[in-house]
């Protein structure tokens, strides 16, 4: 779960990581009022869980409540890089002397925490890592030993001497946040030194491990702040992984790898997938029915490909689910079904007996993809 900046900063406040004073606004009026409270000058920041806000006009310094209102109005109206925007963060504008970058993340290639610091702020860290890797200090932290003093000394040694104490303090607190709240990323870009010498987190990018939310019921509620597509919400409720895409072939499969592969094979067959939908392991008839409803709710869908290779998932239940869905929803497009694995023969028999006019069976994944692609592109004429 990628948090908004203002949510990240709420967590920073819990850990006493210094950050500018800020107020969340959901309208132009609220942004103007917030700027008044902050003394007439502020920074208006679009709240989206993606990067590149600075360059994309998503962070603007304003010198009056009226300007704040105008900027907030623009951000809330237009969205940001195709993302809907429901709120902006209005922050105190601070006198900045220098900008740095720091982050902690869970490094999947080593299975350890990785801390990074550079004296160059506001950078694209991936770009800097490619062009001038020496500018970045890195330490790997053993998760069972935690952050040690020498790690902190190593990281801050890349900074000007008078910023090291303040930055070290931020590092220790950020690492505590990372481990105590099951974050997989805490990134501060930029971390700034103010004219008075103090070090402050100007931005906050925090990602929380979804698998660990059972330990943090208070964080689960942060999710409700995200504008979410009602269809995606419905899928999530049923434990389905659904991602909307731009094509015309609806895809349902079991297992992330097989579904991704199905998307690719459909693309090679000359069509585009309308979505990614993984019913997961051990899908029930009800989950299959909901999957079909979810996929068919997308008006762009012109055919559906159901590609199931059962291990835990049982072919007979899949077939029953498909037939159950046909009773529940109006099916306006052909559904190509490919079943293999556990109880697949039984599943194929159930489908054959039902003899539904919309159902087309395929013997292999490749055939299924070709049929679904033909049906989708043919129907588009």
């Amino acid at each position: 779960m990628d948090l908004y900046e203002h949510q990240g900063k709420e967590l920073f406040a819990r850990y006493e990581i210094p950050a500018p004073r800020g107020i969340v606004a959901t309208s132009a009026d609220e942004a103007a009022q917030a700027t008044r409270e902050l003394g007439g000058r502020s920074v208006v920041k679009v709240q989206v869980a993606i990067g590149g806000r600075g360059k994309g006009g998503g962070v603007v310094v304003v010198d009056s409540p009226e300007r704040a209102a105008a900027e907030a109005d623009r951000m809330l109206g237009a969205g940001f890089k195709d993302m809907p925007v429901t709120r902006v963060l209005v922050e105190q504008a601070l006198p900045i002397a220098r900008e740095f970058y720091t982050s902690f993340l869970l490094d999947r290639s080593t299975g350890r925490y990785l801390g990074m610091m550079t004296a160059e702020g506001g950078v694209d860290i991936e770009e800097l890592a490619r062009t001038r890797p020496d500018a970045i200090r890195r330490v790997h932290v053993d998760p069972n030993l935690g952050l040690r003093t020498y790690h902190v000394r190593e990281l801050v040694s890349v900074l000007p001497p008078d910023a090291r104490e303040g930055a070290g303090d931020v590092l220790r607190k950020a690492f505590r946040l990372l481990t105590e709240l099951d974050a997989t990323l805490v990134e501060i870009n930029p971390l700034v030194q103010l004219e008075d010498g103090s070090v402050v987190a100007l931005d906050a990018k925090v990602t929380i491990d979804d698998n660990a939310l059972f330990r943090h019921p208070d964080l689960e509620s942060l999710r409700s702040a995200f504008p979410i597509d009602p269809v995606e919400a419905r899928a999530r409720e049923k434990g389905l992984q659904y991602v909307k895409l731009d094509g015309e072939v609806g895809i349902i499969g079991n297992g992330a790898g097989l579904v991704m592969s199905t998307l690719d094979v459909v693309a090679q067959a000359g069509a585009r997938a309308a979505n990614f939908l993984d019913v997961g392991g051990g899908a029930s008839a009800d989950q299959m029915a909901t999957s079909l409803e979810v996929v068919l709710s997308d008006p762009a869908v012109r055919s559906v490909l159901i590609n199931i290779f059962g291990g835990i998932t049982r072919g007979d239940l899949v077939a029953e689910g498909i037939l159950g869905a046909l009773d529940r929803v109006e099916v306006r497009v052909p559904i190509v079904v490919r079943l293999d694995g556990t109880n697949a023969e039984e599943g194929r028999r159930i489908l054959a007996e039902a003899n539904h006019p919309r159902i087309v069976t395929a013997d292999t994944m490749l055939d299924g993809a070709k049929r679904a692609a033909e049906l989708a592109t043919g129907a588009a004429v």
Binding site: L106, R108, N144, N211, R215, M260
Partner: protein, 289 residues
């Protein structure tokens, strides 16, 4: 011949009394795997179809000589189950459980470093050496004994590709589902090393997907250390950046982790990369003597 699981396997199942634990334990036993015990704390004295249930893994090792563990316990207790198995001296731990917090897995990963216990998974379908032993949930009936080793991040792609191989009459030495989580046990490199050393394996199929750099690092390893032919597959060519595709690890971030970059890295290392599971099976058929 085979790697990881085989004739020598003596299996203890942690979480044997749960629905899935029981179902797959019995399937594995039917397949011919020597299942010697189950562990569910507080249920010692019971049995599952004649398989004794014990309170601890240490007990299973002491009294039944278990050397391999399969884990079905719920996510919030699974990391501890892996540690328990390692401390009991189990040589191979296969963790099927999905949804384990990544911090827990980082702790386990660091703890296992330098120890003798090998971990497969979590969030994986397990390991099967066809005709000999099955530890996990891979349907035994789609496999056939033979000379191709297979390792995959995705579970259902193990099924799909094994199925395509078997249908062409190509059998497998061992199939390993390593799991799709960001922090996991055995990886491509470890698996390739084992297959390279296994006299029963003549060719290796590695099945990757978008996200991370496991495939790129495997490519570098293959150039240096693998003499046997390798055929590759990468899922997720059409996955858009920034969208997570089911697996916790399957996400393209920025310019890294794309299927294209992975396929190119493998091809530079001399790996033939199929663009569909069917093409993978065709490449294997062409490469086998």
């Amino acid at each position: 011949m085979s790697v990881l699981v085989g004739e020598q396997t003596r299996l203890v199942v942690q979480g044997i009394t749960g629905n899935e634990g029981t179902f797959h334990t019995l399937r594995n036993a039917d397949y011919g795997t020597k299942v010697v015990a189950g562990v569910t704390p507080g249920k010692a004295g019971q049995d599952v179809d004649g398989i004794p249930v014990l309170d601890t893994v240490a007990d299973a090792v002491r009294t039944t000589g278990a050397n391999t563990s399969m884990i079905f316990v719920p996510a919030r207790f699974a990391a501890e189950a892996i540690l328990e198995a390692a401390d009991a001296g189990v040589e191979l731990v296969v963790a099927i459980t999905e949804g384990i917090p990544v911090r827990d897995m980082a702790e386990v990963h660091a703890y296992l470093e330098g120890r003798d216990t090998v971990l497969v998974g979590p969030n994986c379908p397990g390991v099967i050496s066809p005709g000999v032993a099955n530890v996990g949930i891979i349907p035994g009936e789609i496999c056939a004994a033979g000379r191709v080793g297979l390792v995959s991040r995705s579970g259902t792609l193990v099924y799909q590709i094994v199925h395509e191989l078997t249908q062409r009459g190509i059998g497998q030495s061992t199939c390993i589902g390593m799991g799709g989580d960001p922090v996991h046990g055995i990886g491509f490199i470890d698996a390739l090393e084992r297959f390279e050393d296994d006299p029963g394996t003549e060719l290796v199929v590695m099945v990757g997907e978008i996200g991370g750099d496991d495939e790129e690092r495997a490519a570098a390893f293959i150039s240096e250390h693998v003499a046997k032919p390798v055929v590759g597959y990468i899922a997720g060519f059409t996955a858009p950046p920034g969208k997570r595709m089911g697996h916790a690890g399957a996400i393209v971030t920025g310019s890294s982790g794309t299927a294209q970059a992975k396929a190119e890295a493998l091809e530079r290392a001399g790996v033939k990369v199929g663009r569909t599971p069917t093409e993978v099976a065709e490449l294997v058929q062409a490469a086998l003597p």
